[in-house]
Symmetry: C2
Subunit: 211 residues, 2 copies
DNA sequence: AGTTTTAGCAAACGATCGTTCGTCTTGTAA
DNA sequence: TTACAAGACGAACGATCGTTTGCTAAAACT
């Protein structure tokens, strides 16, 4: 039935697989990603799905890579050109919260879920997730250190402490959203992030229509 | 081969199953809990494992209940008799961090992992997890409100905001521990919790032997 | 003492898991 | 024009999934 498509077609197929995998993973975790399910959803054969990657673990790693790029694209790319230091940090907080409130995955942040899922396990999946998060931490740390040397944060601030709090708040936002159903969670998260950075709380964000 | 044991024996078997299930779940999530695996680990037959519960979902719900009790036992029970309000809140922070640093599960906090895992899914498992976390939130909220009326927290504090930050920090501790391998994470978490409660940072905790 | 419950076992069920195999088809290179 | 490389297919593999069905045997109740 199907013969060889052009190379770009093959890359499109690969992307379609990974996009679907990332979406499933954001809801049910990496364990919920199944070759047969991807095949069914995409109207392909199981062999066709796994053929591009060789094994399920390779597919999982590629999915992590795509999700990581989607995160960077949504959170970092829009603010990359802001001035380094506190201004860019505040911009990151805004885009980060916006990403959490309206994520490009149907289950919420892919990385938040999968890093919890594989935090206590060993193997390449854990290591790749750790590497992705470590890279993000370093990005944040750079601007935190810059903010300190600029005098925008107290000179005795501990950069590691600041990044720990910011990451925790972002993580906690997913929980408060999905478990407790808190409708104000994005504002709450932004308020807490600003407090961490010693900045006056933000204006109330225009919420989805309510009363 | 095996006949009817006494009722207390049966309850012990049930407990052994749930303990093992909670431990597996803390590492690999609720999806990683498998009837066959429990049977192998406990030297039982699959029917013997599932017989006590009727179905896998019932077993999952019972596992959540046990893990919830273990959390209460480790975090709340030791501080329950402290004086309500800020003093008990600070005591909770200490026991909470201690629980996170040395959890009764081999994979870290069971609830932190599974609530992420099922946050975006629907069904009884999600609902039960949400109920457990909501109960914990209410417990914290009670003391936060008391601390406000006692004048130990600013009168214009938002209790929901405080509990959101505390929960986020606890959640983030697991991530920083398992993904980034931060050895100072428990101190970091306690510092941030104290800051949230407007209290001077705690003394440095005696760490496990290092240098 | 006799009857009823019930914990647990062995075995099998169909479904699905990840993987492998051979084949067909087609774009690309020789 | 011929030969090759590669995407995708259908089909099957053994393993494991959750569940069901008798069955055994001992505790508990009458």
């Amino acid at each position: 039935m199907a013969g060889r498509r052009s190379d770009s077609d093959a890359r499109e197929t690969r992307l379609a697989i990974l996009r679907r995998a990332a979406d499933i993973g954001s809801v049910e975790g990496l364990r919920g990603i199944t070759i047969g399910r991807l095949a069914t959803d995409l109207g392909m054969s199981k062999a066709g799905v796994v053929g591009q990657f060789g094994s399920k673990e390779a597919l999982q790693l590629a999915t992590i890579e795509l999700a990581s790029e989607m995160f960077r694209e949504a959170v970092w790319a829009p603010v990359e050109d802001e001035s380094p230091g506190l201004p860019r940090l505040l911009a990151v907080c805004r885009s980060w919260v916006a990403y959490l409130a309206d994520p490009p995955f149907s289950g919420g942040c892919f990385l938040a879920l999968t890093s919890m899922e594989y935090g206590a396990q060993t193997g390449q999946v854990h290591d790749d997730l750790a590497a992705v998060l470590a890279r993000w931490r370093r990005t944040l740390l750079r601007d935190i250190r810059r903010a300190i040397s600029d005098g925008d944060l107290p000179a005795d601030s501990d950069p590691e402490q600041v990044v720990f709090v910011l990451e925790s708040l972002a993580n906690g936002t997913k929980g408060a959203q999905q478990l407790h159903g808190d409708p104000d969670v994005q504002h709450r998260c932004l308020v807490a992030m600003h407090a961490t950075l010693g900045v006056a709380p933000p204006e109330r964000i225009a919420q989805s229509a309510r009363s």
